[in-house]
């Protein structure tokens, strides 16, 4: 009798201590506002589904800020387990051997099934090294899309159901919109991402040598080709005619569109959620325009957004927890939930299929344009994505030079040549710093 109750007490004690000894996994992200709430709820769902690991999701500020904090913490021996890093930080993270653990390795060591082929090729390819190992876990990916204000199109005498497919058609529409008295005809978010990086991929021309940097640190920028100069000149002419309103380097342009000020917008697919909520007019979302005299265009667009990196120097137990969390995030239902509530693209084929079967795309026309554009054609060496060291600086240099053109200070060719020169300096610095 006594033995039984002692045994019961012991068993109870052991069970309760095991239950309390959950391994904590620190997850630093940069999803603010409603997106952050969604991340928090995903973490909660995972925590509820098992009792060995507890994911603690912490909002650490914008992408550059959280990356700086993580780097500093790493140097102080105090890094998080999972860090969300934006696409332009990929090269920096990849070169940091020892500071990061490839996702493929984490999954393999934890015996969690993981099939890179289940992921959409453009998404996986961005975060995979040259040997085919997936280095980081794709989480929130978007691409650039083309939005039009259908009411304004009607007002200008244009067919609102026929959004321009080529830049020639675009320019004709722009002229008509301007003639109809519309103040802001076209604006764009993320100017470099749209008009240089995605522009190159969409037309199957390189952004830089060595497969846009994926095949070597000795890559060089190639964004001053005649095609690029011609495109930037077109933009500059539009600006001079008052048909292109520059709105800054980030996503400030999106508000100009959803408020009804501007007739046309190119920006992230993630803008849909806000536009849906705020626009008081009819609108449509479409493929971005292309130059129809370029062979191979339109090819496919490349992703933006961020992925999840696993930081080095942690215990095996925590890595197992990370693997389990990633397994949870890869479930088609979870992916579909994330995709439909945020506007980011579904990352696996299965999630895409599941969403399609659920009729979501029928109820929300345009919600699958992003995927269709990403998978328009199988990616080539020019359209898998990009991987440039210190590209945070690199992109800012490109945008600064573009601003020089839009403020009338520079000619397009001059600006792009300068962007290539300065950009290459940054690449060489990165190469030198990461030789060891």
């Amino acid at each position: 009798m006594f033995r039984k109750s002692l045994f019961a007490a012991l068993a109870f004690g052991i069970v309760s201590t095991v239950a309390q000894a959950q391994t904590e996994i620190q997850f630093w992200h940069s999803m603010g506002g409603a997106l952050g709430d969604k991340v928090a709820s995903l973490a909660e769902q995972f925590n509820k589904s098992q009792n060995q690991y507890k994911v603690v999701a912490v909002y650490k500020g914008s992408y550059p800020e959280s990356m700086t904090a993580a780097i500093a913490s790493f140097r102080a021996g105090n890094a998080p387990h999972i860090l969300q890093v934006y696409e332009v930080g990929t090269a920096t993270m990849m070169a940091a051997k020892g500071a990061v653990v490839p996702v493929a390795k984490v999954m393999k060591d934890a015996d969690v099934p993981f099939n890179p082929k289940a992921y959409l090729p453009t998404v996986a390819g961005y975060y995979t090294d040259s040997k085919g190992n997936m280095l980081s876990f794709p989480f929130n990916s978007s691409t650039v899309l083309f939005y039009i204000n259908k009411d304004m199109y009607k007002k200008a005498g244009l067919d609102p159901e026929k959004a321009p497919k080529t830049w020639k058609q675009f320019q004709a529409a722009a002229d008509k919109l301007k003639a109809a008295g519309i103040g802001c005809v076209y604006t764009s978010g993320w100017p470099s991402w749209m008009h240089i990086e995605n522009f190159s991929a969409w037309h199957n021309v390189p952004i830089g040598t060595k497969e846009n940097g994926m095949a070597g640190l000795d890559t060089e920028f190639k964004i001053n080709s005649p095609l690029h100069v011609r495109h930037l000149t077109m933009l500059s002419d539009l600006a001079k005619k008052g048909e292109f309103t520059y709105a800054g380097r980030g996503n400030q342009a999106e508000a100009k569109f959803s408020s009804g000020e501007c007739a046309m917008l190119t920006s992230s697919s993630g803008a849909q959620a806000n536009i849906r909520r705020n626009a008081k007019f009819q609108w449509s979302v479409n493929f971005i325009p292309y130059h129809d005299d370029v062979k191979g265009a339109p090819q496919n667009s490349i992703i933006g957004g961020a992925s999840l990196w696993v930081m080095g120097g942690k215990t095996n137990n925590t890595y197992r927890g990370v693997a389990k969390f990633f397994e949870f995030l890869s479930k088609p239902e979870v992916q579909m939930d994330w995709h439909t509530s945020t506007g980011y693209v579904p990352i696996t084929q299965a999630a895409y299929e599941l969403t399609r079967k659920s009729g979501y795309y029928d109820k929300n026309p345009g919600a699958d344009i992003a995927i269709k554009q990403l998978t328009n054609k199988p990616p080539t060496a020019n359209s898998k994505g990009l991987r440039f060291g210190n590209f945070v600086q690199g992109r800012e240099v490109i945008e600064e030079e573009m601003e020089g053109v839009f403020t009338g200070k520079k000619q397009p060719k001059e600006a792009l040549d300068e962007a290539v020169k300065r950009g290459n300096e940054i690449l060489r610095k990165f190469e030198a710093a990461n030789k060891g």
């Binding site: 603010g32 952050g36 102080a76 709105a247 408020s259």
Partner: protein, 282 residues
């Protein structure tokens, strides 16, 4: 004015009133914006008379921050700012008064060396050493903490110099009398120096509190967790997107709250404030 020129005085008043209006204009617009709804602001032109959303906006930001950018409650941020400003102001005064006392009232080897060491820090504002100082803080593990917000800022050469200047004016007779009475240096400090320094400390406190409250670059670097934001950088982090999608009504309400405590300190303690400003630059 020497001559009695009513026209000249009238003109002076006019200029001053215009000056006051220009200086107060942004504040007025901010206040009005903090009482409107988001739609009223975005529909240009914004009304120039206060609206009716005062309670809604202020309670929203105080309790749950903005909804698009950072969602840290402003009440937490105000508390962080308050703690930081108080600790920094009081800490600077406490540390500096001890250092000034040591330098003025003692003769010891290395006195000049230490004096110049403190002086040199005037030449090293935080802006010229931000990254390495951040690294030191990270290595010490004080990122995202009150210690990290306050400790690196807590040594002030200006306060030490001001107090030193003041101590030099304390009549020697007092120290002599203390010595004759057999009082040790610390006794002298507590009973004589400290009470005499009250006005200087008050003046310093006003300036240092305002400076501490308005610190921007250092808290920006050292905090990345929302619960540790101070209100000054919290505002910046609320500005998430382009200028039409920011929730300006909430941002302006937060700005009003952020400006209130230092403005109150300046206006209520005006006498000490002026004294402090003029003294710290001698």
């Amino acid at each position: 004015m020497v001559e009695n020129r009513p026209w000249g005085t009238f003109l002076a008043h006019a200029v001053l009133i215009i000056g006051v209006i220009l200086v107060a204009f942004p504040l007025y617009v901010t206040f009005v914006a903090s009482t409107l709804t988001y739609d009223e602001i975005v529909n240009v032109p914004m009304p120039l008379l206060p609206g009716d959303q005062l309670l809604e906006n202020y309670s929203q930001v105080l309790l749950s921050g903005s909804t698009k950018g950072s969602s840290a409650p402003v009440s937490t941020m105000l508390m962080n700012s308050f703690i930081m400003a108080m600790v920094v102001a009081c800490g600077k005064i406490a540390i500096s008064i001890l250092s000034a006392f040591a330098i003025v009232y003692f003769r010891f080897p290395g006195r000049n060396f230490f004096f110049w060491m403190i002086f040199v820090t005037l030449m090293l504002p935080i802006e010229v050493r931000i990254i390495p100082t951040f690294k030191v803080a990270a290595d010490l593990g004080i990122l995202d903490s009150y210690l990290g917000l306050t400790l690196p800022l807590i040594a002030s050469a200006t306060a030490t110099f001001l107090l030193r200047q003041f101590f030099l004016t304390i009549p020697d007779e007092l120290a002599e009398a203390a010595r004759i009475d057999g009082a040790g240096p610390m006794r002298f400090f507590w009973d004589v120096v400290l009470p005499l320094s009250k006005t200087s400390m008050a003046a310093l406190f006003v300036i240092l509190f305002i400076v501490g409250w308005n610190e921007y670059l250092w808290p920006l670097l050292i905090t990345s967790q929302e619960s540790m934001y101070t209100v000054v950088i919290g505002i910046k982090r609320m500005i998430a997107g382009g200028d039409a999608s920011n929730e300006w009504n909430l941002i302006m309400a937060t700005a009003m709250l952020a400006m209130l405590p230092p403005a109150l300190v300046v206006m209520l303690m005006q006498k000490w404030f002026v004294k402090g400003l003029v003294e710290t630059e001698k």
